[in-house]
């Protein structure tokens, strides 16, 4: 029973979630991780810091985001779907919650600069945004392939005053951007904070990012309570590294709700991976027979990650949450369905969660159930790509 008590709580000094997590970094980075752990612990226990965090998310970030009942979708599939509207948060996704927290912490630690990795550019844009607001210098590492695929986001970051460094090593995508940001961090830890974009990396990142994102779940629980819905039967979120899922799960960890994380089928670290060590953490990872990390493959750049946050690996191993995979095709269909039925164009990442709900309604999800969907982001960034794909078929 001790395990259930500890679900989504403080992972302690060694940053362990069951057998996952920990801190696997070069010795040079240990002091910075320890400093961050102490600083976050201290800040998170400080009501003044918390109030500032909430204040910034209110007056700058657009929180609280509403919960919307998806009436037409619900009618069509026979389950009641409520969407937590992170697509309405500033910069168009939940990423803003984390970066507001981390940039406030950067300032509190007396550091003047942030670096970040980004895949599609969502976390990079969010980091550049939060850094601009506080006058922090910002450098974003982005796989060279991604800078080409998402050139508009590169321009956005530059408009916001950030420097974007194309990463040419390895597969030139998100995984390599994380490697490069870590290599860079070694050279500048004194004045620079590494603003990691998901619930991954060495302790305290997985815990800290989950705490900053937990505002999603706490708000949603209150909102569902206030409108008389109570505890939903299911809470469903897409999973790349797992930050939007961790954030919404955190509001329901101790409830009876079934927690479901939806991975891209081509990047399903839980279903297709094995325990391993990458990017500072022990978690579930896609890897080859000889322990080399493999590329994830997905239509959505934000889920193109071969690993998953260690707390998710733990939640899966104890059966508190379930992780499922959805392929590209149903995701495209779900994106179009939600657009037409509800007037909501979801991000391709979020469309994974929608796709699982529509697929499983009447199967894994009994008819008449109540489902809370985390609509982690809006689809503006993806419309050009989706247009290309759909046009190619005409």
């Amino acid at each position: 029973m001790t395990q259930t008590v500890r679900v989504m709580k403080d992972p302690g000094d060694d940053g362990r979630f069951g057998e996952f997590g920990g801190r696997f970094v070069p010795e040079a980075l240990i002091p910075a991780c320890e400093e961050l752990d102490v600083a976050f612990r201290d800040a998170w226990a400080d009501p003044i810091f918390r109030e500032e965090f909430h204040h910034v998310l209110r007056e700058f970030g657009g929180r609280p985001t509403p919960v919307t009942y998806l009436a037409r979708l619900s009618e069509q599939i026979g389950v009641h779907v409520y969407a937590k509207r992170e697509d309405l948060a500033h910069t168009g996704s939940h990423k803003i919650n984390n970066v507001v927290g981390q940039t406030l912490l950067t300032r509190r630690m007396g550091k003047t600069r942030v670096i970040a990795e980004t895949g599609a550019g969502q976390h990079g844009v969010a980091t550049a945004t939060a850094a601009a607001r506080l006058g922090l210098e910002c450098t974003v590492y982005m796989g060279e392939l991604d800078t080409q695929r998402q050139s508009l986001n590169v321009f956005r970051m530059e408009l916001l005053g950030a420097r974007v460094v194309p990463v040419t090593s390895g597969s030139r995508t998100l995984k390599d951007a994380v490697n490069e940001a870590m290599r860079e961090w070694v050279t500048c830890v004194d004045d620079t904070h590494y603003c990691l974009g998901s619930v991954m990396g060495p302790h305290p990142f997985p815990w800290m990012v989950r705490e900053f994102q937990s505002i999603i779940g706490h708000e949603a629980a209150q909102q569902l309570h206030d409108r008389g819905v109570g505890t939903p039967d299911f809470v469903v979120a897409c999973v790349g590294g797992g930050s939007n899922a961790a954030g919404i799960f955190a509001g329901f960890a101790d409830s009876s709700a079934r927690l479901v994380g939806v991975e891209a089928a081509g990047g399903a670290a839980i279903a297709g991976g094995q325990p391993g060590v990458l990017h500072g953490m022990r978690s579930m990872l896609l890897q080859s027979e000889s322990g080399q990390i493999e590329e994830a493959e997905s239509i959505s750049a934000g889920l193109d990650y071969p690993g998953i946050g260690p707390e998710h690996a733990h939640l899966a191993s104890i059966g508190r949450a379930t992780y499922v995979g959805v392929g590209d095709e149903p995701v495209l269909e779900a994106l179009q369905l939600l657009s037409r039925l509800e007037g909501l164009i979801p991000a391709l990442e979020s469309a994974h969660a929608v796709a699982w709900i529509t697929r499983e309604a009447g199967r894994d999800i009994p008819l008449g159930s109540t489902v809370l969907l985390n609509l982690s982001g809006r689809g503006d960034k993806d419309v050009a790509q989706v247009r290309e794909i759909l046009r190619g078929r005409e």
Partner: protein, 252 residues
């Protein structure tokens, strides 16, 4: 005390300086001939890289070498088997990332490393706090797990690392990943701090690229580790004979 540490201590106690070159296994087809050349030139020990897809403590040169080795289809088992078939004549220290060991399994890794004639291991992403289970298995098999100290390591931490160090202490000269550098960074200060807590041989690594830099390191340290400067030349087509000539200048 395991064999690596015994031989390095003996050498240090005689006042001899250690030159420890690094090569990535499998980065060129004749990599083992380069190792023989390094030994012929007078290397004290050879550090052998086992490639990993995501080397976060390596700069562009060793990244390229990893990629070359992986593209050639090399696996940890294959590399260790090849090493085991050569008798190199000096201690071999494997440098790789922890996932390689984790994936093979701790016991099996230790077994394969020993069968490959390896006597020490450097795992730059396996910190002291996480190293316990591996260290137990390794030590029981006669393998030393070498620990790093960085310029950023505070003294209480150096003391803790020193208490667990085996083989030698790897003093990172700078806050950087592997690669060439023009100066000797903070090497002297790091070595001095390590010496306050440890009587193990202390070798300087990261950024030592020229014979001149190695000689400077020999002034205050017991040895120098030279990686990228050598790897870059081997990738560029240097022959084993040229490798031997190149390496000679680093030997005191």
């Amino acid at each position: 005390m395991n064999s690596l540490e015994t031989s390095l201590r003996t050498r240090r106690d005689r006042g001899d300086k250690s030159f420890v070159p690094y090569l990535m296994a499998g980065m060129v087809p004749d990599w083992l001939d380069h190792i023989d050349a390094l030994v012929a030139a007078g290397a004290t020990a050879v550090e052998v890289g086992i490639p990993f897809s995501d080397p976060i403590l390596d700069g562009v040169v060793i990244q390229r070498a990893s990629l070359a080795s992986l593209s050639a289809g090399n696996t940890p088992e294959g590399i260790l088997a090849e090493l085991g078939r050569r008798s190199v004549g000096v201690p071999l220290v494997v440098m790789t990332y922890f996932n390689i060991i984790h994936h093979l399994g701790l016991e099996r890794s230790a077994h394969l490393l020993c069968a490959g004639g390896v006597s020490g291991v450097i795992l730059p992403d396996l910190t002291l706090e996480e190293a316990g289970p591996w260290r137990n298995v390794a030590h029981g098999s006669g393998l030393d797990t070498v620990l790093l100290v960085a310029p950023s390591s505070p003294e209480p931490r150096i003391e803790k690392i020193a208490a667990h160090a085996e083989g030698f202490v790897y003093a990172a000269s700078r806050m950087a990943v592997t690669g060439r550098a023009d100066d000797d960074g903070h090497a002297a200060a790091v070595v001095e701090r390590v010496r306050r807590y440890s009587d193990l041989p202390v070798f300087v690594g990261i950024g030592v690229s020229t014979p001149q830099q190695a000689r400077e390191a020999y002034e205050f340290a017991d040895g120098a580790i030279v990686g990228s400067a050598l790897v870059e030349r081997v990738l560029g087509g240097m022959t084993p004979t040229q490798t031997e000539q190149f390496a000679r200048d680093f030997v005191l």
